[in-house]
Every structure is written in structure tokens, then in C-alpha cells.
């Protein structure tokens, strides 16, 4: 995809969307093409809304600046969690994805999230992994290390520099899939880790919100969503949680 072309007058507007495609399997580059759950989902939504669009790969810093500015990008989809702080600066679509965090570790002593208190924990900066840990133990937790990308956190775990990594379940599973011979255990802790919900990121006051929300709802309800989810994660999604969330 390419964001360069200005939408020319006359024909219907072509909306420009961005994603930071470094987060397999949600969005990533495969042989030079942007693929992933978010990519297929966006396609379904835009089809439903009957909107023309193009999707390009944008580095995270630019992704944020461009969506916020609303000129180079009209919107973005990049596993962005909805929260109160962010709503001050952006509009979000209704939630389209429930993410649960997992703990991945080698240590037997770690059974629940509460066992992480005095441990060294790795998360990716600006992900839900970071948020759940900060919600649990407070922002100033000494042992919390925010990595620029999740791969670095996994490598640090390998290295023994940290005791555990907290990340989205899909990412953890993808990592285990890519590194089958490593002796890690992955734990859910639904009591201490609240679920997080992703939304499509839009500039504040975007006209798109009104067009996208019904389309997202329709895709969730008409079974298209479950189809995409199964393609990428091999299991059934809990659509009801999403529809109830609002």
C-alpha cells in the first residue's frame, strides 16, 4: 500500500489507513505484503461500509502522529487498546477484539500474576501487557522493563535478564510456535489481568466513526468475524463479550 496519492475529487473518497505491521499475527509483513487478523478484519469492515480504502505500513511514531493529525492517515488499525487517556486524543470505533494477557516464564515459583511483584518483568512499551502490570503494581514498579518491541523482551527472557514476559495471548502463542524447543510455560490469570479491548483508531471528531461503528457491529454479528478469527487463531471468538462491551 502507499499513502502518497491524494484522493482526487470526483470519484468516491479513498480512505487511507495505516498499521504498524510488526505484531504477528495481528498485523505483520509477509513477503513484503501486510497481512494479519487486523488486515482481514478491516477489509471486511470496509466492504460492509462500502468504503474505498488503502492500507499502508507505518512505523509506530509516525502512525500515531499521522492518525492524530488526520491528514496523511484517516484511520489506523494496529491492535490499539481503548482506554480513558487515549479517548482524550482520539476517537475509537466500538471494540472489535478482546485481548487477554499471558505470563510466559521458566520459573516454577510463578503461578499467578501476583507472584510477579518482586520479579523482573518484561513488556512491550505501550501495550496492554504494560497496562495490566501497572494497574496491578503501580507505575513506579522497579522491576518493570518496557521494551521497544516484544522480540527484545523475549530475547531478554531467553538470556535470563528478566524472569517473565507479559504479553497478549496471541503473541505468546506465536512466539511459542516459532520457538518450539524452548521450555517455557504460559499462564493465564483472568482474575488479575482484566481483559483489554482493541478499537480502530480515528482522529478526534472523525466523520468515519459514524460509518464504521455499524459496519463493525455487522461484521461481528454476521459470522464473518468468527471466520477470520478461526483463520488466524484456530478457535472460536467470544463475540458476545465484544457486543456487550460498548
Amino acid at each position: 500500500g502507499n499513502t502518497d496519492k491524494q484522493a482526487s475529487g470526483g470519484s468516491a473518497k479513498k480512505y487511507k489507513f495505516g498499521t504498524d505491521a510488526t505484531w504477528a499475527p495481528q498485523e505483520y509483513m509477509e513477503n513484503g505484503k501486510i497481512v494479519g487478523f487486523d488486515v482481514d478484519f478491516l477489509e471486511a469492515v470496509m466492504k460492509e461500509a462500502k468504503l474505498d480504502y488503502e492500507l499502508s505500513n507505518v512505523e509506530w511514531n509516525s502512525f500515531l502522529a499521522e492518525v492524530q493529525e488526520g491528514k496523511k492517515l484517516d484511520g489506523g488499525i494496529s491492535s490499539v487498546t481503548i482506554n480513558d487517556e487515549r479517548i482524550k486524543s482520539y476517537d475509537f470505533s466500538i471494540p472489535y477484539f478482546e485481548s487477554t494477557n499471558m505470563i510466559i516464564t521458566k520459573q516454577d515459583g510463578i503461578k499467578t500474576a501476583l507472584d510477579l511483584k518482586d520479579k523482573k518483568i518484561g513488556v512491550q512499551n505501550a501495550t496492554t501487557g504494560q497496562t495490566v502490570i501497572e494497574d496491578l503494581f503501580g507505575k513506579e514498579l522497579k522491576g518493570l522493563n518496557k521494551y521497544e518491541n516484544i522480540t527484545m523482551a523475549f530475547m531478554e527472557l531467553d538470556n535470563g535478564g528478566i524472569d517473565a514476559v507479559v504479553a497478549d495471548n496471541m503473541i505468546v502463542n506465536e512466539y511459542l510456535k516459532n520457538n518450539p524447543n524452548k521450555q517455557y510455560k504460559a499462564l493465564y490469570d483472568k482474575t488479575n489481568f482484566a481483559s483489554e479491548f482493541y478499537g480502530i483508531l480515528l482522529p478526534k471528531g472523525s466523520e468515519l466513526k459514524a460509518k464504521l461503528d455499524p459496519a463493525v457491529k455487522a461484521v461481528l454479528e454476521n459470522g464473518k468475524y468468527a471466520e477470520i478469527y478461526k483463520k488466524w487463531y484456530g478457535s472460536e471468538p467470544d463475540v458476545k463479550v465484544l457486543l456487550d462491551k460498548k
Binding site: 504477528a24 509483513m29 505500513n57 512505523e59 511514531n61 509516525s62 491528514k71 518491541n149 516459532n178
Partner: protein, 218 residues
């Protein structure tokens, strides 16, 4: 360390593409950066403080600003508002040129000031204007001495060009990050591009060293 060679293989064509773009961005930035640097260097050498000051401030500010931030400011604050272009490659070349110009200006100034004062005096005493004395007498001699620091600067520039990936210019680092995102593995892509950067910088210094030696024997 276990290396998954298939990742490198799959990504080889993209790394090739990225290498070509990296080279293109660097050549353009070297070109514009050098020209702009010459102008700024001349400005910094002015006898008049009023002329000198803005150039000095430019050099200080650019040298003091992390390139990452400069690229973002250029991309969002200059490329589109001023030039109406929102292409990442354009922003990358523009910011690398602006950044490099500050360093080139200093190299240029040091080179000119290293030429014996007697050369300028002899030229002026023959009736040549300051401009002509610079052009025919000082610069041809100074350029030789500037080659080593310029090589240094260009090597830094090649490495700095990897930051262009933040404005989505599809150069080497862009593809390295893409491969990392796909496989959640670091070494395959980063070591590959490290070697490519090394080849690029070594080639550059070899070429320019030869140039320098040629100049010297002339």
C-alpha cells in the same frame, strides 16, 4: 546462536530492494548535504557577526537535536506544509541533508581555515577578489584535507539513514523490522543488514581513499 537461514532467504529480495533505496537516499543526502554545508560553512566564516550568527545557531541546533526527532519534525512540519509532499523518502532525504549540512559546514570551515594565511594574502595582493581567491586558490587546496573528515561524515550518514524507516521509507532497516515482526526473531535480519551496512561503508571509504591518494599525488 541458532540462525534460521530460511528467513534470510525469504527476505533476500527485500533486503536487496532496501539496499538500493538506502544507497539512493544516501547519495541524494550526501549531494544536498554537501552543497548546503558549503553555503553554511561560508556563512559561518563571514567577518560580520550579523551574518555569522544565524549560521552558527543553525549548526548548534541541528547538531544538538536527535536525528529521530529531526526526521519527525521535517516529515510533519516541513514536507507537507511547505512542499506539499508526504513521501517518506522525500522527508528522509530532506532531514538527512539538513543534518549532514551542519556537520559538513564544520568540516568545510576547518578545511578552509587550515590553509596557510599566506595563500589568501598572496591571492589578494595579486588583485583577486575574495570570491576568486576562494575559488581558485583556497578551495582546491582545502578540498584535499577535507576528504578524510567527509568520509567519516558520510559513513555516519549511511548508518543514520536507517532512521528513515520511521517515516516508512522502505530502506534496509524497514525490511529488517518487517522480518522481525513476522518471525519475532532478531538476529537473522539485524545481522544481515549490519553486514550490508558494513559493506556499504567500507566500499565508500575505499573509493574515497583512492580519490584522496589520487589527489595527493597530483
Amino acid at each position: 546462536m541458532d540462525i534460521r537461514w530460511d528467513i534470510i532467504e525469504t527476505y533476500a529480495p527485500f533486503f536487496l530492494q532496501g539496499t538500493l533505496l538506502t544507497i539512493g537516499i544516501c547519495l541524494a543526502s550526501i549531494f544536498f548535504g554537501t552543497i548546503l554545508g558549503l553555503g553554511i560553512g561560508l556563512g559561518r566564516m563571514s567577518k560580520h557577526k550579523i551574518i555569522r550568527t544565524p549560521f552558527t545557531v543553525y549548526v548548534d541546533i541541528i547538531r544538538g537535536t536527535p536525528l529521530l526527532v529531526l526526521i519527525m519534525i521535517v516529515h510533519f512540519g516541513i514536507s507537507t506544509p511547505v512542499f506539499g509532499i508526504s513521501n517518506g523518502i522525500f522527508s528522509a532525504i530532506l532531514s538527512l541533508s539538513l543534518n549532514s549540512a551542519a556537520y559538513c559546514a564544520e568540516i568545510f570551515r576547518a578545511g578552509v581555515q587550515s590553509i596557510d594565511r599566506g595563500q589568501m594574502e598572496a591571492a589578494r595582493s595579486l588583485g583577486l577578489s575574495h570570491y576568486k581567491a576562494m575559488r581558485f586558490v583556497i578551495l582546491p587546496q582545502a578540498i584535499k584535507r577535507m576528504i578524510p573528515p567527509f568520509v567519516n561524515e558520510f559513513i555516519v550518514l549511511i548508518k543514520d539513514s536507517s532512521l528513515a524507516s520511521i517515516v516508512a521509507a522502505k530502506e534496509l532497516m524497514y525490511w529488517a523490522k518487517a522480518a522481525q515482526g513476522q518471525y519475532l526473531r532478531v538476529w537473522e535480519s539485524y545481522l544481515t543488514i549490519a553486514i550490508i551496512y558494513l559493506i556499504l561503508t567500507l566500499t565508500l571509504s575505499k573509493v574515497l581513499n583512492r580519490l584522496e591518494r589520487k589527489y595527493r599525488t597530483e
